[in-house]
């Protein structure tokens, strides 16, 4: 029984360590804020959840296990909320993904077409557009 618990917690530790490493590597290597959000979310949910699950298996089903699972539940609640708050603040400040393509050949954005709504008249000022080449 103890061996089975050890094996299970080793599996979740190694998987969690893999996700932690991949997430931290992605925080450095990815080139855009909106791409780095994915890496941060991997660390917040998968890495932390799996490592704390392995710790909960190791503590031997006492009150400490309950505390560890409480931390897991709390991180599962607050991690996505914090990521959404950061993304919302960045979006409100005018940042947009760097690969966002403004397709000038589509019908809706043709210069002769009349804008359909009020919103089309005044697009957000700071969108960085790149001309579609095809």
């Amino acid at each position: 029984m103890a061996l089975a618990i050890d094996i299970l917690s080793w599996i979740s530790f190694v998987t969690g360590a893999f996700f932690l490493f991949v997430g931290s590597l992605g925080m450095v290597r990815l080139r855009d804020f909106w791409a780095r959000l994915h890496a941060a979310s991997i660390i917040d949910s998968a890495g932390a959840g799996l490592i704390l699950l392995g710790m909960a298996l190791q503590t031997g089903f006492t009150l400490i296990t309950v505390k560890t699972l409480l931390i897991v539940g709390f991180l599962m609640l607050t991690g996505p909320t914090a990521s959404h708050a950061v993304a919302n603040a960045a979006f409100a400040s005018g940042s947009r993904p760097c690969d966002l393509v403004h397709d000038e050949t589509s019908v809706e954005d043709a210069p002769t077409a009349k804008p359909k709504s009020k919103r089309a008249k005044s697009p957000p000022a700071k969108i960085r557009t790149r001309k579609a080449t095809r």
């Binding site: 050890d6 969690g16 932690l20 804020f33 959000l37 710790m55 503590t59 990521s83 603040a89």
Partner: protein, 104 residues
């Protein structure tokens, strides 16, 4: 076992430090700080189990709470430039141009 996981968390925190110092915008730094706080929670728990003092998990739970509230507070401060009540009409309209101007 806990030595392994502690070393992995330390390596992860060192790599996150790079983004924390080199992030080109504010939001990169806030995101890296939030993730760094999550890694700190894991590190406190792992150190507590490593040294045989599981009371550290209480501190880890408290740190998770403070980390979340701190992230929201930093974002709110940099959006509204104050930490108290959210500002009234004028500044809200300046902050969210698309949504509110359509309604009024």
């Amino acid at each position: 076992m806990f030595v392994f996981i502690t070393l992995v968390i330390l390596v992860c925190m060192v790599v996150l430090m790079i983004r924390l110092f080199a992030g080109p915008t504010l939001y990169d730094r806030v995101l890296a700080l939030n993730t760094f706080g999550t890694c700190t929670v894991l590190l406190i728990g792992a150190l507590g189990l490593l040294s045989g003092r599981p009371e550290f998990l209480d501190i880890a739970l408290l740190y998770a709470l403070i980390n979340f509230v701190g992230t929201i507070a930093v974002l709110k401060f940099f959006r509204y430039r104050r930490l108290g009540d959210a500002p009234e009409d004028e500044e809200m309209i300046m902050a969210q141009p698309d949504k509110i101007r359509e309604q009024t």
